[in-house]
Amino acid sequence: MNADETAQGKRTHEILAVPGVAAALARHAGAWFPKECCALLLDGAAGPELVLAENLADKYHALDPETFPRTAERAYVLDPRLIARAEGDGKTLVAIAHSHCRVGAYFSDEDVRAALSPFDDGPLYPGVDYVVLDAQEGEVRGYKVFGWSVARRAFVEV
């Protein structure tokens, strides 16, 4: 692992190691199963914070199925106001979390597409990691953290 990849995932792993955080995230994924869940990991003056969010994919799919062909079983759409509000409050977005249902924790092509800028100049959220939870019937088996590698110009597990 390169130095930049180690630095990239460090804070996310630290927050996930805070007692209760990973468990709360897993409960969130379980509650949303068989749909994907989504959440934010933030850092602020008061310490790290986990924001459990609503997956808006079904709502957008119902409104505009051409632009949003995937339902919440296979996609997630976060309310961007959550991020704007957090940043407005002086907090830092550390990671965006979502679950995969029945297919394992990996960074899919769709995840990569959504995380990259359309201008081919790197990630849409520079410095932000992605946590992918492995949600299965009746249990959440764990998670993996992915971050942007400057050296490899790709998202890698960190």
């Binding site: 632009t67 961007p80 991020i83 959220y125």
Partner: protein, 129 residues
């Protein structure tokens, strides 16, 4: 000062599901004509420029006043002003110029590739601004 990345420039819009990458690409490929050169036109030019609308067709008076500011705000945006000025002059009466919304519409039609509207004085459509 380093040129800000395009992603940074349009970050807020790119992150909105309603706009996203596809919407931003459409904005950059789009053109908007702004009629008039008063404070409302100025404000519209600023917002449209910041949003990344690819081409702004503006009144030459407004262009003279704002070109530098708009270029600094967003160098992605192309201002079209002087070149279209001639299109807005009536081909039959050089003293008469299209104005307001009619001028904006004529400019957009010309920019679309349909060519200048030669008989704009005969069109039933009336300017409303």
């Amino acid at each position: 000062m380093a040129e800000p990345r395009q992603t940074e420039r349009y970050a807020r819009q790119l992150r909105l599901p309603e706009v996203g990458a596809r919407g931003q690409e459409r904005l950059l490929a789009g053109a908007v004509a702004i009629s008039g050169n008063g404070p409302a036109a100025e404000e519209a030019a600023l917002y449209l420029c910041a949003a990344g609308v690819g081409r702004l067709l503006i009144d030459p008076v407004l262009a003279a006043r704002m070109a530098g500011r708009l270029a600094e705000l967003n160098p992605d945006v192309q201002l079209v002003a002087g070149a279209l000025d001639a299109l807005w002059v009536s081909p039959t009466n050089p003293e008469r110029r299209a104005d307001g919304a009619r001028a904006a519409l004529l400019a957009l039609v010309a920019l679309s590739g349909a060519g200048p509207v030669r008989n704009w004085e005969e069109t039933p459509w009336e300017a409303t601004t």
